[in-house]
């Protein structure tokens, strides 16, 4: 049997520019969950069970394996390790049934982990999120070089995760490396 692994969004090795490291994270499975009309309570119950809490506005909640963050009113994005949760959307759909619309998102996004001492300065060049005020677990959707991206604060002041449109992965990567070079 052939050992098959999905092709990453872009062929770029991890890069450290100055103090900032930009690394594509190919190991994240994603699924979006949107509560259907009048089914918020049922969705919140499932979120509570699987994550330990319901992600509030602009926040992420990390469960034992899965992480969820708020993306809009009555909508959340769920992430988990790709290795163990390739069928993440199906798993959630099985539990939620008609209470929510669950959509596979892994193929739609590219995930970059950006870390290092100069990360806040770099982030300020890229987008308008108040990076120095963000606490660990804060999430904001924003525009980076005309691309709608999520910026997740994984470790305040040190590490952010950026989810951007996969079809524009190379453009986003270019934006990140250019900003990192500017602050290096």
């Amino acid at each position: 049997m052939l050992e098959l692994t999905p092709k990453p969004a872009i062929d770029a090795p991890d890069q450290t520019i100055g103090t900032v490291t930009i690394a594509q994270n190919t190991g994240v499975a994603l699924a979006s969950v949107a509560a259907r009309k009048g089914q918020l309570a049922a969705c919140e119950k499932t979120l509570n069970t699987r994550l330990g809490a319901v992600p509030q506005v602009g926040k992420a909640v990390s469960g034992k394996v899965e992480t969820g963050f708020w993306t809009g009113a009555e909508q959340w994005m769920i992430s988990a390790p790709e290795d163990s949760h390739e069928d993440l959307a199906e798993q959630w759909k099985r539990v939620l049934g008609a209470a929510a619309s669950v959509t596979e998102q892994s193929g739609g996004w590219v995930v970059f982990d950006v870390s290092g001492a100069n990360m806040p300065a770099m982030c300020e060049l890229l987008c308008s999120v108040p990076i120095r005020k963000m606490e660990t677990g804060d999430v904001q959707r924003t525009m980076i070089h005309q691309l709608g991206c999520f910026v997740i604060c994984c470790d305040a002041g040190k590490h952010i995760r950026i989810l951007g449109p996969r079809a524009s992965a190379l453009s986003l990567h270019h934006a990140l490396t250019a900003a990192a070079t500017s602050v290096a």
């Binding site: 009309k37 009048g38 506005v57 602009g58 708020w70 993306t71 809009g72 009113a73 909508q75 308008s128 904001q140 959707r141 924003t142 525009m143 709608g148």
Partner: protein
Amino acid sequence: MIIDHPLLGPRDSSEFTYLGDARLIDRPDPDGGDAAAAFYQYAYLRDNPAGWHRELWFHEAGDRSWLVVTRNTLTHEISKVELASDVARAQGRSK
């Protein structure tokens, strides 16, 4: 211009796109007897007030919510920001 989003707090207006008069929420009944006249009115005839105006904005680079923003077209002062879904529900639409 800063729009004070009801859920997310103050956000720059560059994150939003503008649709127009908030009366666009009140779509006429296509099965009504005067549907043609009502849709003509709905699609083409709008006030263009110099002053307070209720308008629809879309938070495109944010949580993708529709908002009803009450804005003074002379000064750009914003007096009220509501979720369009709340406004529609208050009128008895949806649930």
